[in-house]
Amino acid sequence: MELSFSPEERAFRDDVRAFFTEKLPAEIVDKVRQGRELTKADMEHWHAILNARGWLANTWPKEYGGAAWTPVQRHIYEEESCMANAPQVVPFGIYMLGPVIMAFGNDRQKAEILPRILSGADWWCQGYSEPGAGSDLASLKTRAVRDGAHYVINGQKTWTTLGQHANKIFCLVRTSTDGKPQQGISFILVDMDTPGVEVRPIRLIEGGHEVNEVFFTDVRVPAENLVGEENQGWTIAKFLLSHERTSIAGVGYSVKALDQLKTLAKRQRRSGKRLIDNPLFAARLSEIEIDLEAMKITNLRMLSNAQKNGAPGLESSILKIKGTVIRQALNDLSRRALGPAAAPFPSEDLDGNAAPVPAEDRCHAATYFNNRKISIYGGSNEIQKNILSKAMLGL
């Protein structure tokens, strides 16, 4: 048993840490720390900084301009990224489309698409979910009908994250209704400025705009925009779902959230004492801390497996389930720690003097509500349990 990282991995951690210290813009750190929304420019700026260092496409092979990190390096990066209040990389081009193109795309697609992801020329978004088909992708209804050298797409996608910033979208569409519902699905790329594509914002529970509906009305897309074979979409979708799940536990976020919560609990006062000295609060905080310490090791154990076996196993579903539960429990405690001061709607109008809490703690209620999503998206925790029950336990 050896729980620590190798000397090389520790040196890598030092590099990452130094990079964040030098290159991460202070105004972006402030926004992340305070839980405020980043602008499109913020995200593009950060991508450019990462790309200049060669770290944007950290999981891509070097031949495509990637960093070819091991799962452990990726993990170390994610941890440090959270601790430094760095923004997450927008995943749709880097972690989702990129690997799909490398695995299923043709040479032309590789040559055209991958460099534009790195350069920031394209902002991709994802067209998977549909109204009425949340976790059940096989039932999707958006049709793509072949018409000469084009496909004509009609239908609606939803939950398209950051679609308001995107110029491109990759979609799962139905190209056939023969056979099982999974068999008639294809993976296709669409320019967002094609006539007939319309993006409508969805406002979320806490008031923010991060997801959208995307409507397709007689949208004509060149047939060469198909990735892989026609009706091969289900294979691609499964490839994507099983890909890149080692950081799915969100341990880095939780570690950061716990840190912030401890500071908050030492500042807040209840009945003349620090909140951390309230036994009920301290007990809850400590229980979550213990769960999180265990989760860190669970994550490393599965990472170690992934490093050895090439790919994460089913256990990644365990990370997803327990990781989201822990994170939501921390969000819950941070909200509670504020007492009545959690209630004001986060808004630029609330100037420093009038707000009952400092800026870095003003979004805890909003974050709590917004993060109810993490146990729903990417395959809800219920779906993960169905999968584990069958595939891991054999029930």
Binding site: S129, G132, A133, G134, S135, D136, S139, T158, W159, I202, R203, L204, I205, E206, G207, R269, R270, S271, G272, N278, L280, F281, D332, R335, R336, L338, G339, P340, A341, A342, A343, P344, F345, P346, S347, D349, L350, N353, A354, A355, P356, A365, A366, Y368, F369, R372, K373, S375, I376, Y377, S380, N381, E382, K385
Partner: protein, 370 residues
Amino acid sequence: MNFEMSEDRRMIADSLNRFLGDTYGIEHRTKVAYDAPFHDPEKWTQLADLGVLYALAGEGQGGYGGTGFDIMAVFEPLGRALCPEPVLPALMAARVLAAGDETANGAGTGTGTGAGIGPLLSGAVRYGVAIGEIEAPYGLEDIAAQAEAVDGGYRVSGRKSVVYGGHVADLFLVAARLGDTLAVFEVAARDCAVSGYGLIDGGGATEVFLDDAPARLVVADGAAALQDALDAGALALCAEALGVMDRAFALLLEYLKTRKQFGQTIGSFQALQHRTVDLATEIEQARSITILAASRMGTPDQSRTVSMAKNLIGRTARLIAEESIQMQGGIAMTWEYPSSHLAKRLVMIDHQLGDTDFHLERVMAAHQAA
């Protein structure tokens, strides 16, 4: 033994349900609840004209209610409609002003009401009840605001935090230290610096900054009156939560019965069925404890039982909120769908007038004292 509402109270509840159902639909509510003034002034007037506020005070104060069951009859419909009108501060102010009346007419430590309770019950004058402070969010023990007698009157200084409905209040009832006792003062809104804001679950509140603000003494030895107002307010929040929960649960149930996944209604999945039964069970329990607390108002067990209720409501409301979002999935995460707003209210009620831990500690203290 009889668990049916009396005829009078059913009439109040029915007329409120009808009025809110007809005129305060979820779209209207969402429109007014999140934009200044964070409620609908016209609807407020209509609500007052219905006589709802009179149900919150006893006959001695010119009302026709004021018992625990009256409070339930009013606040459950308000919860069901997710109504952001500032009825809660009116209830709490009425309790304090009544105590002011009593002490003024009795032992003489109070000074009686100024405008009188009449304008409050008619809806003409709106009060904010300013008790909590940043470092004393829930309890009375640590209140730091100070008052002093000056030139035959009083002056009050301090900061009151997250005063619900304070953004539209004409007058504030302010808890402040006067020498060794905790007194209650009436301060005109124009004599304080107020800075209002909207709340994440709709409705509005304000910070109240008092800087030698001229004040009228309402109750000189006000701890009991304030505690009574806090108890009545907490009971009202419990009843409100019941209304919200019922509606949230009904929406969830409807969703489970209609929405299909993998070719089956979601409600046919046993894991969700069992969780839904758990929710129904907890809602029954929440209703029971609220009924118990209502029945104990005015008895020596009032505070302890209200604390029990607020604790259980806090636990249950969060459970309903989180589970109803989780089981309905993405749709319940959206602003457009009522469940999200119901869930926010259910969770944030725990931040008003004492959270689950605060009230649990009061129940614990009763055991430890013995």
